[in-house]
Amino acid sequence: MIYFIIRRLILTVFLLLLVSAITFAIFFLVPRLAGQTAYQLAAQYVGKTPTPSEILAVEHKLGLNDPLYLQYGRFVKGIIFGVHYNNGPDVSYCPFPCFGYSFRNQQPVWPQLISDAPVTLSLAIGGAILWLIGGVSIGVLSALRRGSFFDRLSMGIALAGVSLPVFFTGLISLELFSYKWAIFPNVHYVGITSNPVQWARNLVLPWVTLAFLYAALYARLTRAGMLETMGEDYIRTARAKGLPERKVIIKHGLRAALTPIVTIFGLDLGLLLGGAILTETTFSFPGLGQFTILAIQNQDLPEIMGVVMIAAFFIVVANMIVDILYAVVDPRVRF
């Protein structure tokens, strides 16, 4: 098992390096191939009516005049060893893991990512707990009461949940619960350390909005899995052996039906941790999703690189955890 984990960790590092190389190529190499010069790129970060010498100075400061392999090497080196950058009056040091220096804000990227991450973590983890519990429970109950009013109602709601985009359900929930009835007035992010009660109160609507989308999907998946599993011979055997129905459902039915749920949960959570763009934008939460939008709007390449790397990290790590869990469940995966 340890070898398996070590192997997976090495693969994770390799994958992240690959992602960084591909991302760097997309944002730095491809424009060059399309004819963009370092001078033109630098001109985007010099403000209004710059002189050629001012553009050259910025090009030099940002290192855009160096060969691309050097720029990429500097980026990777910065992640491992940190980076010194010129502040104007002095030189500052951005320690490991420095994801570069924002072209637009003139601030190191990593502290900004770290400052935004708790918002996204709060949103994603809380939402994930809600949708996992809600979605799986509804899915199981629907499967067990197939064809009933509850089944049809819950699957109808699930269909709506899957179909309605977050920016719609989010705005509706804000309109109803924040403005019309003021149950959750003036929703805005409050840090858990500054006020845990306000943190939770302000997150309820985003959690529910997020959970509504994902729970719907999980309910449908769980229902389908349960229906298939509950028709298996070994379920009939378990019942024939006289096992209590609850044990049959939970230990034999649900356990088998959960395998694909665990897989997709890892992917969804990993993806969300990289930035719940729509939810954060709808509720104006300053997380990684909003950071991503702003980085793209500002064409701030180091910030885009940084957020892509963070998103890739979460996805790869979530997949690694899923793989490890699989290995625990099914030893054949280790080989």
């Binding site: 403000g47 710059p50 705005l171 403005y179 509720f283």
Partner: protein
Amino acid sequence: MRRRRIFAATAVAAAGALLISACSSSSGSSSSSSNNNTTPGAVAFNAGISAVVNPSTHKGGTLIFDNSSTPDSFDPGNTYYAWVLNFDRLFVMPMFTFKSCPGACGEQLVPDLATDMGTVSDNGLTWTFHIQSDVKYEDGTVATAQDVKYGIERTYDRTVAANGPTYYQALLTDPKYPGPYKDKSPAGLTAIDTPNATTLVFHLVAPFPDLPDVLAFPSSAPVPQAKDTGANYQLHPVSTGPYMFKNYTLNKQLTLVPNPQWNPATDPNAKQLPSQIIVNLNVSQPDIDNRLIHGDIQVDSAGTGLAAAGRAQVLASPTLKANADDPVNGFARFIYLNTKVAPMNNLHCREAVEYAANKVTMQTAWGGPLAGGQIGSTIMPPNIQGYKSFDYYNALSQSTGDMTDAKKQLQLCGQPNGFSTSMAYRSDRPTETAAVTALQASLATAGIKVTLKGFPAGSYYTDFAGAPAYMHSHNIGMAAGGWGADWPDGFGFLDSLVAGNTISSTGNSNIAEENNPVINNLFTQSSKVTGAARTALWSQIDEQAMKDAVILPMVYQKVVLYRPSNLTNVYVQAFYGMYNYAVMGVSS
């Protein structure tokens, strides 16, 4: 110029014939701030354009601003966004500012840190200013003339302060000065002398009567060299204004608290009423509008007005509408007609476009008469000093297009059946896209076929529309644009648009490439005269440029601003075209 740079703010902006009304003296301490000359406005639609609404001297409370985007920088030497120029007055004192009062009075430039409007030498090349001797920073030390000079010096290093205007480099001697971080000589910027702690002497390369207007940018606020943190100065600029930074999380939230060292007697155009000011950044626009309407926040700091849904809600309700203002804010939307690209290099072809364009459909595309703006027939909008109304192409009398005259002009330009050309626009701006699409449709009825060429806003001026070589090589004869003056006179509005010497190979704002000696001479004259004689020149330039048909005006933009009932001392400051952020209070 600066407003062209407000990416998120572009969809709106407004301009306006602001009613002249009594001015607030805004003098003295906030607790005793007299409104002797103020006409308190009743709560009514557009009341905030001409009078102070909810006048109050109440101290305390938290004033909350939301913004759907982020500032370019809170470093006073590194900003060009209109709302930041307005907001900066809460924590810095530039040399000059615009008088805090509603109506046209708010376009009046007055001394802020300076003691008077300065004196200029006979040849116009040397300006001498004196500053107040008792203005203190938040740490209690006194701001000096050397600090003002240092603040200006910082703006020369574009690797640290890239966002601000570049007037100093263009106007002052020593244009190659590299900034204080690279230049360690004791003299520093030789274009500015500081013979003592309260005197500054500026040396210009050519006479420039508007120098005090340039010094109204926050970059003229003093910066103590010992406290300069370069690129990090945006995180905590040292305050000389009524408020100071308590904490700022970059691009998320700023909290200001009263500056205990601020003396209201030295800063009569600002007040210190709320006990705390919070600015939330990157808030979604629908959320901002809802919070405003429900009184959860007090100001949408972008000053670009309500979005469509919020606007509809406010305008449909008489109660809510009474809390709204619809000013024209000095920003104009238009189409450049290029004088170098055939067949638009023919005056009559350009005039055909002027006549044929349906101004009503373009106005509708911009958002209609209230949220889009009023139809324009001149380059300068009405709130610019020197504005004169005229209508050479029947934009006002035949707003849906004058096809008879358009056909005549097509005959004269040798294209009786019309012609083909291309038009550049910013494809990532929905309203601009809608406006050029409407124009394309109306010109088609006159036989003028326009191919739309969309470009990203971020590189529109650097690589495409603002690069004459690109326009020529791709036969692009028209380009969408917009403009707001850096200061409210004709020079501030017209110079970059139609002066021949402003044509540049990249970042060009004179996209029509207008280089008419008559206009150029008028600009030259403008540096030699002052007062009414100078003001009269602006309308002459405007008329000549319109006779040359180098710009097709679309709208003088308007925005629907909302003021919650708990916001006090609120009125539109004419120059900014948004509420005056320096004097606001909150009632609860």
